[in-house]
Symmetry: C2
């Protein structure tokens, strides 16, 4: 493939160090076009904007790289890039991130970074979301850039196997302490919320979400295990949410409806 | 089970006829508590609110039923209901909807209705999202109510099999023309966007999303096939997005990283 077209996006906006790192890496491999939300969109999940219009502004964010800010969600960004900015052109790869903070385990469903990547994959574009387990905007991205380069190079050369979407998380460790890559499944876990209840200046109650991650399984094939043991985790992910192994156990529902229907 | 506790929610807000229909059905089976967003939240996907506080207001929406409006997303609603309103109580079932419009196929990932239901299931609560293939607020909910009752009764008595989450869609047909229930997988499809570009009163461009659903597969075990052929579709769904069958094909990535790492 000569000069692949690579779409770079994120959920933290154009000034996040993580997207700068990813633009630098992607630029080694082909033509890069960047689109990012014009405000932080962490936790936006797969939200799309349907009840109001979107704005799109060309910005001079990275030397020599076509870049746009968009007023919408990360998923809106990908849709606008595909349909408006790159209308008709084949996008060879979409990379999202590098996110400031983990998108391992259940975080994938809340994550704007991963939802942008998933949207691209839904639309047929091989796509990778990268996340680094350090929330700080002063984070050191050397190890993340190294592994982003390894993974982008491998996937451009070899494809994605049977997958269209990869969820890559990089542990908060110096490059020489990372043990390598593990291809994993998503660990089972969830967030247990606490809501801090407080009063506003008018005396009205408000609630502010906080939470703690609760890991349900620790098995060695999971992304959380890999990250806690010094590996970069890669989870091939998909947008078909069907619980296939549960189909059989629900078949009796088909008969119930029939009994009901014929009873009437 | 005597007097199960049923949480009812949606993404269209408290004044949508669909939630009224669902409250009426759920009230036949147990104690109902309702929480709904205070503004329409269609297309909000799995968005959560982390950068601003949430408001929660008790409202007198349904006679004799405890009901709250929340300023957040559908997922926020479920989290607040569980952690604040019903703090410590076991919720036996969460039902979301009845949505005005389809959540079959890929719509599940954009849908506020289904994301609310999925959030409950992530937190261990058996959960069902109901959607009716009629966008109108004047829609006739008789068939939807009938099937919601059949399915809630069955699942309260028999459980969910191996699933925790059901995506139920009801075709836009009179009750006596619906052929019954099909337990299905999610059809493969996506939305092809068009953005209507226009100018605001100041002459600045804006883009408004519109789109057309493109169905990629028509197989008889899919939800879209069932709906187009007069059946209620039930897709057992899950939040583990791992593409398990792709794990093997990506294993070579583990070696590549090792080669790189040892080359340094």
């Amino acid at each position: 493939m000569d000069q692949p077209l690579i779409l770079v996006t994120n959920d933290d906006g154009m000034f996040a160090p993580g997207i700068k790192a990813l633009v630098e890496v992607a630029s080694k491999f082909g033509e890069v076009v960047v689109i990012a939300p014009d405000s932080p969109q962490s936790g936006q999940g797969h939200a799309i904007t349907i009840t109001k219009p979107l704005r799109l502004n060309k910005v001079d964010a990275f030397p020599g790289v076509l870049a746009y800010e968009c007023s919408g969600t990360p998923v809106d960004c990908v849709k606008l890039a595909k349909s408006v900015i790159l209308n008709g052109r084949k996008i060879d790869l979409c990379v999202s991130g590098i996110n400031h903070g983990s998108n391992a385990s259940i975080n994938i469903i809340y994550s704007g970074t991963m939802s942008a990547a998933m949207e691209a994959s839904v639309e047929g574009i091989p796509s990778i979301g990268f996340s680094y387990l350090d929330y700080s905007f002063e984070a050191e991205f050397d190890a993340s850039k190294y592994y982003a380069e390894v993974i982008i190079q491998f996937t451009l050369q070899n494809g994605f196997g049977d997958a269209k979407l990869l969820n890559v998380n990089i542990p908060k460790l110096p490059l020489n302490e990372i043990k390598g890559i593990k291809v994993c499944h998503q660990a089972e876990g969830n967030w247990t919320e606490e809501f801090i209840e407080s009063k506003d200046p008018r005396g009205e109650s408000y609630y502010w979400m906080t939470g703690e991650f609760f890991l349900e399984s620790q098995d060695e094939d999971s992304d959380i295990w890999a990250l806690r043991n010094g590996y970069v985790s890669i989870v091939p992910s998909m947008h078909d949410l069907t619980h296939y192994s549960a189909l059989g156990s629900l078949k009796p529902l088909e008969n119930v409806s029939h009994e009901f229907a014929t009873k009437e």
